[in-house]
Subunit: 272 residues, 4 copies
């Protein structure tokens, strides 16, 4: 369905939503006083990102880190390590709050505050956006278009990238869709107030593998959505390494950043 | 317990509840503004149904698609593809709302609106009904009888089809029962507000296989309840293909539409 | 820890909580109008119990059925089949309501109504009780003692049977303890309003097997708590058969009714 | 990252939160009247701890038991067995209530009441603390520092121990971090009001094993958090034995008490 560059028959994105504590603070303001709850997020900044950078470097792989402005502000040095290692940094809002369709201005404000923080603390101007919690409103797409964003990445409605069209007929951003099954959150997210059974690495690998095999057959975009605080636990860095090894056994897999894939899709538009 | 046609010792139904966005809209009106949530449903219409039609066609298998009126209205072309490929189209309400025993008229209104939409947009007059969410009231059976429906399909009270008898003694529709374990929803339904751990294809296959083996032994009706937005994910189309392959290894399995099975059961009544 | 009869080194109870619709009605009165929800319970009466009786008969195994008075009243013929096949019938309340520590009289009333229904409809006077939902109050034990009940079965505080002692020093009933892990409910209970992922038979078998092995080593009481509406699904009758086969591979397992085990424990008391 | 004593390349802690009924009472005061719910906790005191002491003794392993004051008061003899067998006894509050950031005095009061109970009933003065429910506030660390506690153990923010630094610059306790995945609660905790699917021992072992392998590679601290009422079920004592066997296959694993590891880390500080 998609003409991938070169002889590639599918594309694969390694994406990391580097949320740190922001994801916990945004869901429940009371978490600000709960150091134990926050510590799960802090793990991402303190321990997980360095381990993941080490793995990516050893494997010489491109990747995209979606970073909320709050994280750029509170974990600036760690974010600079990501930037300086050459990985794409994407937009992930400021506060990691979920967009509320009833309050479009609040969504824009949080977005703009995120843009400003990424610029101020990291000197980075991202070209793509991942809406926190995969919560997207009609406003989201207009907002991204007005701000010239190249891509959005969190819709679940396809396995091939496509270009959004706004209600007024304008061309919107490129969409890089994904699905809950090809990520880490569904299998590993747990807190004492919202307990969920943690799954084995074998469970997670099997689903990723089955999805990868089918994506390969379909020539689709495999958009792996990871969170350092989850995938960065010791056994799961090994899981990610195992999955990368598996993928490397296939010819014709274009492993790229979100920006590169989006630019490629945009270029097909132009040709088409 | 049932005399199946020919030398068959059991029957198998492949059924698809083609809900698209309606299932999300009906459960929470706020979802209307949440494009990310809706996108999971949209996947069913955009990508899953074509892939499933391809599989069914390659396998030359009959199937029944239960389509809410809302979906016939909003995804008319996709529904026509289902119709034109010759699959049975069953009734699935208009809005995919759950029947409320306290509001029988609302249930009838939604049903009638669904009938009208299926007729107007698809020119189809279904002979059977699958109540959304397996929510069935005493009114449901009277409603179906008054409208001359041949069958209902969502009760969990048996593994053999049977004829409903109304409180007033009238004969109601044929029931084609099923169970949560032989479907996809229990293992795959997930949303950020109601997270549930997504299961491996192996998990799902194993339960279907164990149930199939036992249904075969019992001579029962295996009523597989699938949802394009769930079973149509890449790895799960492969799962369904694997299950079909497994079933094909058995002699004496009557794979049929709901309408055909219901008509057969009705004919036994007449003979009996 | 326990001197089992003969050369036995452990005891095993096959117990069936034959709740039918009562378990759904008791948890939510609105379920009275939800035929789909109730149909899961109805399966127990219509299809599961006959299949389970068939299995028990083929295996020549003793078993105990705990039957709420409501079920004796509404599924009288099915209950008589259980009784006439010679299985022990235990007390399971009337309505399957959970005991409320704040309303001891309500607990007694429901219990007495259950006693009356079992007597009236089945002519049975049970000697033991299983509190619905494993909800037990301080009143429960006094209530059972006052009524001369031999045993109670639902505490989770041991793997060996023991005699309760009341706060006033009186001897209470024998306890036949169990645990959620050695039953079917935890792995299979599911409804659309409280969805839970259904587990494979392999998952369930593995836990039962691991627990059985350890109970065998410990010389303990393995009190298997099953529900016809759950364990009676086609694949799960096969699961139970598989587990019975497994158990039969061991020497020294006393498979008995609850009444027999309780009487044995009581006799040790007397000797001791 | 850490210089472990001798030739060890990692450290492993076997820790048991001996909560008995307190964990149920603290979460819902109504549980005081629910003997069935409490019985799961009682199992820990009555049956599990003796079985675990037997295993630890057979394996000649050090371990740390975190005991709420309430448990020292209500299960004094059992706690004395733990103490007399030479295991470290750590602080686990009095009531097992979760710390509330808005009520620091209540947190201190519960802590001090726990200290007093451990002293009065057991004659023990613990040097380390495990905050119930991994709920930690800013007050927690000040409270521990003011009371001269050597260590805290429940943060999720690292896999290496470290020293806390208070906001005012004072050195706080050593942290012995852990994670939900390397414990028993996430996989086994279940109650009828908050049901969660119980996992197989294989599931649990696999995650512990994968984590252990990675901790070994990283030279990290593997802080296994167990609860007698959960890990003490028959099949799970076997699981723990299996895991210990697995660990024993590795050279260079320092199995120690929390106090010993914390003292070691503190000594590195001094040297450093």
């Amino acid at each position: 369905m998609i003409q991938w560059p070169g002889n590639n028959r599918m594309a694969l994105l390694l994406t990391f939503d580097f949320d740190a504590e922001s994801v916990w603070l945004a869901r429940d303001p009371e978490n600000a006083g709960r150091l134990g709850v926050l510590s799960q997020g802090l793990y991402g900044a303190r321990r997980a990102v360095p381990k993941l950078l080490e793995l990516l470097d050893a494997e010489k792989l491109p990747a995209t880190f979606f970073i909320p402005g709050w994280v750029a502000e509170h974990h600036t040095d760690r974010c600079k390590e990501v930037r300086d290692a050459g990985y794409e940094i994407g937009h992930h809002g400021y506060s990691h709050g979920w967009a509320d369709a009833a309050r479009p201005q609040a969504e824009c404000d949080d977005f703009d505050r995120g843009t400003e923080a990424l610029d101020r603390f990291l000197g980075v101007r991202p070209v793509g956006y991942r809406p926190p919690g995969a919560e997207i409103t009609r406003n989201t797409l207009t907002m991204l278009t007005d701000r010239g964003m190249l891509y959005n990445s969190n819709m679940l409605d396809d396995v091939y990238p496509y270009r959004h069209v706004l209600p007024d007929g304008r061309q919107g951003p490129i969409e890089l869709p994904t699905h809950w099954s090809i990520g880490d959150a569904n299998y590993t997210w747990n807190s004492i107030r919202h307990p969920k059974v943690i799954q084995t690495s074998e469970h997670i690998f099997t689903i990723w593998k089955d999805e990868f095999d089918a994506h390969y057959e379909w020539g689709a975009l495999f958009n792996l959505v990871l969170h350092p605080q989850m995938i960065g636990r010791p056994s799961r860095v090994a899981l990610l390494r195992r999955f990368i090894d598996y993928v490397r056994g296939f010819d014709g897999v274009w492993i790229a950043t979100c920006a590169d894939v989006a630019a490629h899709i945009a270029s097909l538009d132009t040709k088409g």
